[in-house]
């Protein structure tokens, strides 16, 4: 039985909003921005087995922008790694679901993050290890656009290219916002009502300049995401791959979209209800559309 990726992603978004609302703590903007990417990876692209999380041949995944951990937890729960009820322990003392992914607590995590800029390097290490050990797994790393300001990212980029890591696939969650960032001028504001931004305008030039193969996609369009992921996986040309995914921070909840304050903020009752209404109506409208055309399906795992 296959479910539509959009449905899954929307349900993940609901789980994110629900958890942060109930616990009254955690991040929202970044998790909602990266949801479709996680859905594409866990429900279509990656070779993983929820029943055997330690499987040596599994593809590896690192959420380098670790503050979006809640998005990964909901995704993992939906995929069947652990019961959804455990989500309600998020951020509690003693939980396996730490604010930032902690592999020592939750074994289905391939790496720990939380301090920005380190995950891509760990991915380089995994990709080198795969080559050294003749293993065919791929390593996927999601980084943020704000995170890309960390110099360590560019150290990793350089070494990945030097060692021809075509088994390393990065995804840049390019949502144009970070935690605080820079103010924008009045005319920039009018466009999408954002009042601050992470001024990354040269992502493509930078990654190409450093010798990576790049793909540019709408990070909320599964057709584009999946086809880029497939090319990235199959082009065994010695080049590490970066999928530059244009995304919207807070995606799916109108009043959170492109608003930097929603980086980490807990919804009030009213905000929670509006958010869930909006997400539910996406689900509904998608279900009616579904009857009309066929969309991308989830690979049976």
């Amino acid at each position: 039985m296959s479910k539509q990726l959009i449905t899954i992603a929307t349900e993940i978004r609901k789980g994110i909003v629900e958890t942060v609302y109930r616990k009254q703590q955690g991040h929202l903007g970044g998790p909602l921005s990266v949801t479709d990417i996680l859905t594409a990876l866990y429900f279509h692209e990656m070779k993983v087995d929820p029943k055997n999380p330690g499987w040596e041949e599994r593809d590896r995944f690192i959420l380098s922008k670790g503050h979006s951990g809640i998005a990964q937890y909901v995704t993992l729960a939906k995929k069947g790694y652990f019961p959804e009820e455990e989500l309600l322990t998020f951020d509690d003392l003693g939980t396996r679901l730490q604010a930032h992914p902690d592999m020592t607590k939750l074994p289905c995590l391939d790496f720990s993050t939380g301090s920005l800029g380190q995950g891509l390097s760990a991915g380089v290490g995994m990709a080198i290890a795969a080559k050294r050990l003749d293993k065919n797994f791929y390593t996927y790393v999601v980084i943020g656009d704000g995170e890309s300001q960390e110099g360590q990212i560019w150290e990793a980029v350089n070494i990945a290219q030097k060692y021809n890591l075509d088994n390393l696939i990065g995804i840049l969650d390019l949502n144009g916002l970070q935690q605080f960032g820079w103010t924008v001028s009045d005319e920039e504001q009018s466009e999408d009502k954002r009042v601050r931004r992470a001024p990354e305008q040269r992502a493509l030039e930078k990654w190409q300049g450093f010798g990576w193969q790049t793909f540019e996609v709408d990070g909320h369009n599964f057709n584009q995401l999946l086809s880029a992921l497939q090319s990235a996986r199959t082009d065994k040309n010695g080049l590490p791959k970066m999928i530059i995914a244009h995304t919207v921070k807070g995606k799916g909840v109108s009043f959170m979209e492109n608003q930097y304050e929603w980086h980490s903020k807990s919804p009030t009752n009213k905000e929670y209800e509006q958010a869930m209404d909006e997400l539910n109506s996406i689900l509904l409208s998608f279900k009616s559309k579904q009857r009309q055309n066929t969309s991308i399906e989830v690979k049976p795992s």
């Binding site: 939980t95 730490q98 930032h100 720990s112 970070q178 935690q179 605080f180």
Partner: protein
Amino acid sequence: MTTTIGKVESMRSVFGKKLAEITQSDSMVVTLDGDLGNSTRLATIEKEVPEAFYQMGIAEQNMICVAAGMASVGLQPWVCSFATFLTKRTYDQLVVSIDQTMANVKLCGAYSGLLTSNTGKTHHSLDDIGLMTMLPNMTVIAPGDANETRAAMEAMYNYNGPVYIRLTRAEDIPNFTTDQSFTIGQGKVLEEGTDVAIITTGSMTYQVIKAVKILKNKGLSLYVLHLPTLKPIDSEAIIKAAKQTNYVFTVEEHYIRGGLGSIVAELLSEEYPTTVIRIGVQNEYSECGKNESLLDKHGLTPEKISGRIISKVYN
């Protein structure tokens, strides 16, 4: 002096306001943010003195050396980020570009210790006293309340050289200091007694003040020394505290390896050997949790602190 407890002021909001004031009054002062201004309240400067606010993005190493370069031309940069990233992510830069050059840079470590708004072990700063006091030219300050933060910042502004200030995110500390001025390197005796000396710093002094109430009820006579400056250390005050009592306890929101307790043990072992019990975070990582749970887990609530002291003294 016995402590009088005043109103609760948020340390970070005072930090933002005081720095905006300084920046407004002196055009040589500039501020550098590591993409956390809305958390740390450095955002106040962007709002009130925008031309003195530089957003350096999520790139702490560069930020530190940019500040050093600015200082070499005569500016007085104040750099602010979470304590954990400000110190650990940039330690070589702090050594080579700031401390070795004696740059007139003010380093503000927000969200220090365990109380980082429930973000967990990657965000805890439990080693920054150790890190920063190993730097030969660094001055290290950890104010106990908002009032002292304000006074310490004025002193930092008037001091020529690198200073690190360690701030807490906790927002439930009432003012217990009243001094309008701050002398770098000077400890403050909050209680004079003869059984036990408690030496504290930063956010833990208020917890100790509360612990003292419990301990007095148990009939102990207490000496309380608050050390808002960790470097240069007030050796005289520490030795005096040790001489007047039978035990020395130190309390800090920091690893017991390398921090205040370590400094006190180093000093007293050389000058006046005596029992020093270091209360703080043991050799382990912490995790997510609300402020109260984390302090409790690590034995840093007034109840746990007083319990530890009692069990040692009456054992």
